[in-house]
């Protein structure tokens, strides 16, 4: 039976009932966010503060012959000018913790300030600290850089050719078989994943579809630009305030890049105006620190939008080939995929994750996937929500749709028939634990949109598409410290930057466990000196992992309260029960608030704490349905209706889950239809502004209907799965399949911009 999904719905596959979890309290940071009281990085202003600016390369690929900073240094008001020489020699060290450990530190260091060569248009060359931003900007014009301009290489298919200009002269391919190539090239690494017998699988197939897809570079498009303020004290202590997805990650990167003791680095996470994977690494922080050390003053730096687009970490463009074999009755027999992603100017793209996601929604006993990490003259690419998965699953879900059309099989039935489920194959990984792809597909099938025939209109080309998406989610390490106050309230310190409202979802898990109201918990995102190790806010991990730390910290606090009450009531600790927030034993009882008061009189102030590195993240699936209308004169695609279905495990705070789903769809629609870096032949980025880099606005998308599916993750006490990333995965494929339904044309490049759709329609005609 069709259900109305005009309002958010939740479909539960469990019987758990909670008092706090699943409710919709007022978010803890809501008032200060809407009144402008929340403090962001740019709100930091310190006595004696200087202002820093960065000189960037006008070329995509060039050797730096010389840099003369004397003109800038002589300008009145300039206090320091630095180049890459200010950084310690990274030698052969590898990067430490964070998202991409084990990469050569020399590449990260050279991305901070170019070392000998520039690798992309906008690459940082030098940084200036001056009395005010205007003087700093003037000083940049007085730095004289002599370049030997080299031919750029911009696309992976060009960069992989034997005669391509080699960007990093000592980069030797780390080959999949463990050997290293003898000749330098732009291919940093090869990957190979295989299961079953792929040749035998294709031999069994009645139909084989083999297609190629290409992608432009896209940016995460966070609204707050990067900023950092650093103050290097004379005793060597370095204090940094910044906009980052992980204060501890920034601390580690500063320690690595500056060769400075980690104990002397203190990073304060400010509120963040979006990140989506793009703020998981340092850009300005090391520069501000070095300028501060050199001047003895605090130094504040901020990027403008052009800096952000040119020189931070967009997510890769590249190439994906997908080949699928199926029987006439619609069973997948084999899959092959080949992915080449651009790493940008230095190695380390997200191609490995893309390789492992490309066939993730399906039980596929025979598969082979090859991946290539390729250096090109573009900014060093980085994560963007479910990094690599959107590219990969755009390709595979488009091929699945083509197979369904060819065999005249309903696309939902095909996916249900071949769906991955608990215990099934997972490429290069242990078998799937409990997952919810089938439940999501069933919810999509039963949704109001799928059950409502697409409304036709005379002269209009309209179509409907459906696509699945998968993302792993990650665990990493999280810490929580919670202090019970004498009035029964709790001050909860956690280390996860709050991007998606997580301080409330963490507080809710704490409150549920201790049996108090969430309004009695005051969650605070703490700095690196005030809470235990907490890894980056990324990988959809915070509500899962930091929430688990909160649950464990609440139990730790509960144990301390029990111990205190046992003393007070003169009973054995194990005779005290705890239910609905009340402790009871031997005729005595006390709520948490009453217990706090009683214990205060005894001088006991419980502090619950926990640091946890969870091991069973539980992957997340999503299924999306898109209805579109294609203007066959202009090629413009309008989204008429959209439904997003997603397995959230258990939704701690449903409005945040719905918000993540809707936000992911909007970004996915932008990626599908408009967003793309545009370069000229010389490698200059031509659209480094939000006027020309076109992200969708509220006017470009309809109301996005949401259905939360709850298939609890067995790896979390409340069944939580991460929700922040997977909703960006299905939109491009759902849109492409809808465009095909509307026009009969298959799109093979993202974005499917009006010009490209128009050209495809013309070619088809």
């Amino acid at each position: 039976m069709a259900v109305d999904t005009r309002v958010g719905q939740t479909i539960k596959h469990h019987d758990e009932e909670y008092k706090v979890i699943g409710t919709r309290p007022i978010r803890h940071d809501g008032l200060e966010k809407v009144t402008g009281e929340a403090r962001y990085g740019s709100d930091i202003n310190l006595p004696g503060q200087l202002h820093g600016k960065v000189l960037r390369s006008p070329h995509a690929h060039a050797r730096i012959v010389s840099i003369d900073t004397s003109g800038a240094e002589a300008l009145d008001g300039v206090r320091a000018v630095i180049t890459s020489a200010a950084f310690p020699d990274p030698g052969d060290k590898l990067t430490g913790g964070g998202e991409a450990p084990g990469l050569p530190l020399k590449f990260k260091s050279a991305n901070m300030l170019a070392r000998g060569k520039v690798h992309y248009h906008g690459h940082a060359i030098a940084a200036v600290a001056a009395a005010n931003p205007h003087v700093a900007a003037e000083a940049l014009k007085l730095i004289d850089v002599e370049y030997e301009v080299l031919d750029p290489v911009l696309e992976v298919w060009d960069a992989m050719k034997p005669d391509a200009p080699v960007i990093i002269e000592d980069l030797y391919t780390a080959k999949a078989d463990g050997t290293t190539a003898e000749e330098a090239s732009n291919v940093a690494a090869e990957m190979l994943y295989e299961v079953g017998d792929v040749d035998a699988g294709f031999a069994e197939a009645d139909l084989v579809v083999d297609r190629e897809f290409t992608f432009g570079v896209v940016h995460q498009g966070y609204i707050e630009t990067h900023n950092a303020t650093a103050h290097w004290l004379k005793d060597g202590h370095l204090h940094v305030w910044c906009s980052s997805q992980g204060a501890f990650t920034i601390r580690q990167e500063l320690a690595d890049l500056l060769d400075h003791p980690i104990t002397k680095i203190h990073v304060v996470p400010m509120e963040i105006g979006g990140g989506f994977g793009g703020k998981t690494t340092a850009y300005l922080e090391p520069l501000a620190a070095l300028l501060s050390r050199q001047t003895g003053h605090p130094v504040k730096m901020a990027m403008d939008r052009a800096d952000v687009l040119k020189a931070t970490g967009p997510t890769p463009g590249g190439y994906v080939r997908v080949k699928l074999g199926v029987t006439n009755d619609g069973m997948i027999t084999a899959g092959y995929a080949n992915l080449a992603f651009d790493a940008g100017g230095y190695p380390g793209s997200v191609v490995g994750a893309g390789c492992r996601c490309v066939f993730a929604p399906y039980n596929m006993p025979n598969a082979k996937v090859e991946g290539f990490d390729v250096v090109v003259n573009k900014p060093k690419t980085h994560a963007y929500r479910a990094p690599g998965a959107t590219h990969a699953e755009f390709a595979s879900e488009t091929v699945v749709d083509e197979i369904c059309r060819t065999l005249d099989i309903d696309p939902v039935e095909f996916r249900l028939k071949n769906s991955a489920k608990e215990g099934d194959w997972q490429l290069a990984m242990p078998p799937y634990p409990r997952i919810g792809h089938i439940e999501c597909m069933e919810a999509a099938r039963d949704s109001a949109q799928w059950q409502t025939p697409l409304e036709t209109a005379p002269g209009k080309k309209r179509g409907r598409g459906i696509a699945s998406g998968f993302w792993f989610n990650i665990g990493f390490t999280s810490s929580v410290t919670a202090k019970l106050n004498s009035d029964g309230s709790v001050t909860l310190l956690e280390g996860s930057t709050d991007i998606g409202g997580t301080r409330t979802s963490i507080a809710m898990q704490f409150a549920e466990t201790l049996g108090i109201s969430v309004e009695d918990v005051d969650p605070i995102v703490a700095d690196t000196d005030s809470v235990g190790q907490t890894d980056v806010t990324g990988g959809s991990r915070v509500t899962f992992a930091t929430g688990l730390a909160a649950h464990n910290a609440a139990n730790d606090m509960k144990d301390q309260i029990v111990e205190g009450l046992a003393d007070l009531w003169d009973v054995a600790a194990d005779s005290i029960t705890h239910a609905d927030g009340t402790f009871s034993a031997n005729g005595n009882s006390a709520t948490v608030g009453e217990a706090a008061g009683l214990l205060e009189e005894e001088g006991v102030f419980p502090i619950g704490k926990n640091t946890v590195t969870p091991t069973r993240e539980g992957g997340a699936f999503a299924v999306h349905i898109a209805d579109v209308e294609v203007d066959d004169e202009t090629g413009k695609v309008e989204v008429l209706r959209y439904t997003a279905v997603q397995d959230a495990g258990v939704a701690i705070y449903p409005p945040y889950v719905e918000g993540q789903m809707q936000g992911g769809v909007v970004q996915g629609v932008g990626w599908a239809l408009n967003e793309e870096y545009v370069y000229d032949d010389d490698g200059h980025l031509l659209n480094a502004s939000l006027l020309d880099y076109r992200m969708p606005t509220a006017l470009d998308v309809p109301n996005i209907e949401t259905i939360i599916v709850e298939v609890p993750n067995p790896g979390h006490p409340y069944g939580v799965r991460g929700v922040g990333e997977v909703p960006i995965v299905p939109p491009p494929a759902a849109m492409a399949n809808a465009i095909h339904d509307a026009t009969g044309v298959r799109m093979s490049h993202l974005p499917m911009s009006p010009a490209r759709v128009q050209a495809a329609l013309a070619a088809e005609a």
Binding site: E99, D177, M191, A383, Y384, R616, E617
Partner: protein, 87 residues
Amino acid sequence: MATVHIPTPMREATDGAARVEIEGATVREVVERLEASFPGLGGRLVEDGQIRPGLSAFVDGANVGRRLRTKLQPESELFFVEALGGG
């Protein structure tokens, strides 16, 4: 004996075997015995006494990261997988 799933690119060392069975009470012991049985394989998994940066071990479905001391059961399943980040 624990079952170790050999990553595709490392199967040259195991004569093409995708799985091998190895005695060992911990991940470390299994890796040491892998190296003894299939010279060169252990070195691709472990470096300077630690699981190589960028790799994670999965024991019976649990991502134990780079913790070589993780205990194994006689029927444990062990995978070595490239570590993932996220956005």
